[in-house]
């Protein structure tokens, strides 16, 4: 799947500054970032926000990306103050994600790669999150909690692979939060998770919810069903407020994540935790993880919403590392895939 450049070419690449542009559009965000040797030159992003009570469906999301991607591309180039000639390679998200949005962005990546005569680097979205987190926080070899609307994984690096130590066996934690926000008809602007987080701050009364840790894995769909069945009644009878339910849900979900992350750390003997993915910018999750880390004498690394939430720079950064290690993707292999596991990618850029 990947071709390795001859040694001479690789040497040239290592001597000069490398500029990579990254295109991301696997979910409801379309983002394009430009990175020059670890420096983010530009990272504009547009989010497809649906009305309260509604999720984003693939076809409409693809339409949103198609309508916005070129404007975001112009913006990225202008902000970075870079001409296409200065770019060394085009990185794009190969997967995992929704097919129609992925294809829309990949078509643009392939077209500019041909117009500008640049190589393409196909990037795994999850690897993008991990590498961006490492770049921004400086974490060297962390146990990674990757939590978003589509993924929930506990990851650690071992022998040339990012290995998945635990993951969700059904829906992602962000999906659970998003869908609960729909039950409460909370706004999706800027994101349902953000609005749950704000509401939860006012919550006082804890509703005991199912706690679903199975070994190293977690399960969220049962918790969601439990609330779906009861939320209406609990609110109508005045037993609990919306804020109470948001608070109870967050406390339960995050406790499960902290527990499994701690177990992975103990197993690996790790003293660092990195939280990435869209749910990772939730401050209550960071606070709970911070308490666990403090007790273990470990360090917590997290980033804010500009890099936690899907963005183009993270794809550029993973693409940068792959490109420097001599990996590019032949044109005919630049297709996309809805399923693409984190541990499918050989990590050629780490010792």
């Amino acid at each position: 799947m990947s071709e390795i450049y001859g040694k001479d070419k690789l040497k040239v690449q290592q001597d000069k500054m490398v500029v990579i542009i990254g295109l991301e559009g696997s979910a409801n965000k379309i983002g394009i970032g430009i990175i020059e040797d670890g420096r983010v030159l530009a990272n504009p992003r547009r989010t497809y926000v649906t009305p309260p009570g509604q999720g984003f469906i693939p076809h409409d999301t693809a339409k949103h990306h198609q309508a916005n991607v070129l404007e975001v591309l112009h913006k990225a180039l202008a902000e970075a103050d870079i001409s296409p000639q200065q770019i060394d390679a085009i990185a794009y998200t190969k997967g995992p994600g929704m097919a129609a949005p992925l294809i829309s962005v990949a078509v643009v990546a392939r077209t500019i790669a041909q117009l500008w005569d640049k190589p393409i680097v196909a990037v795994n979205h999850c690897i993008g999150h991990i590498e961006m987190g490492r770049l921004i926080t400086g974490a060297e070899n962390p146990t990674v909690l990757y939590v978003s609307g589509g993924n929930t994984q506990i990851i650690a690096y071992l022998e040339k692979k990012y290995r998945i130590f635990g993951e969700t066996i059904d829906i992602a934690v962000g999906n659970c939060l998003d869908r609960f926000a729909r039950i409460l008809m909370l706004s999706n602007d800027p994101s349902p998770g953000y609005n749950i987080e704000q509401m939860a701050k006012k919550g006082k009364k804890y509703l005991s919810l199912p706690y679903c840790v199975k070994g190293m894995d977690v399960s969220f769909s049962g918790i969601l069903s439990y609330l779906e069945e009861r939320a209406d009644k609990l609110l109508k009878t005045g037993q609990y407020t919306k804020a109470d339910l948001c608070f109870s849900l967050q406390e339960t979900l995050f406790a499960m994540l902290v527990e499994t992350t701690e177990r992975a750390m103990a197993h690996c003997g790790s003293q660092e935790v990195l939280i990435c993915g869209g749910v990772g910018c939730n401050l209550r999750l960071q606070e709970m993880m911070g308490m666990m880390c403090k007790e273990r004498g470990a360090k917590l690394y997290a980033t804010d919403e500009s890099f936690c939430i899907d963005n183009g720079a993270m794809i550029a950064q993973a693409g940068y590392l792959m490109f420097k290690a001599g990996t590019t993707t032949p044109f005919q292999d630049t297709w996309v895939t809805q399923r693409y596991r984190t541990d499918d990618v050989p990590v050629t850029w780490r010792e």
């Binding site: 390795i4 198609q66 296409p84 294809i103 990949a106 078509v107 077209t111 117009l115 630049t334």
Partner: protein, 103 residues
């Protein structure tokens, strides 16, 4: 569009032929290359054939029935439009350099 041909399943095939003009044959090739990479969706029974004739991109889409053809043409047109806009806004293509051969 014609539907008098028979396909494998014995049903009349629905076919649409598109010709899209570009500024140069290179631009037509670029759009073809960008759109050719993705395999047909798993459950789709439609088939696409691409050809570049001078500055024309010629595409033939063939489906078992009109309903499926409509779906295939719809999503294909969206992507042709996107690739064409990209060429218009970020082209024209640069002169290609000779690739360094790997040993």
């Amino acid at each position: 569009m014609d539907s008098d041909e028979e396909n494998v399943s014995g049903l009349p095939a629905a076919v649409v032929k598109l010709e899209i003009p570009y500024n140069s044959s290179r631009e037509a090739e670029i759009v073809r290359n960008s759109l050719q990479v993705d395999p047909e969706p798993k459950r789709s029974q439609s088939l696409k054939t691409f050809n570049v004739r001078e500055n024309l991109l010629c595409v033939e889409i063939r489906s078992p029935d009109v309903r499926q053809l409509r779906t295939a043409v719809n999503s294909f047109m969206d992507l042709v439009h996107l690739a064409t806009k990209t060429v218009d806004q970020f082209g024209p293509p640069v002169q290609r350099t000779k690739k360094v051969c790997s040993q």
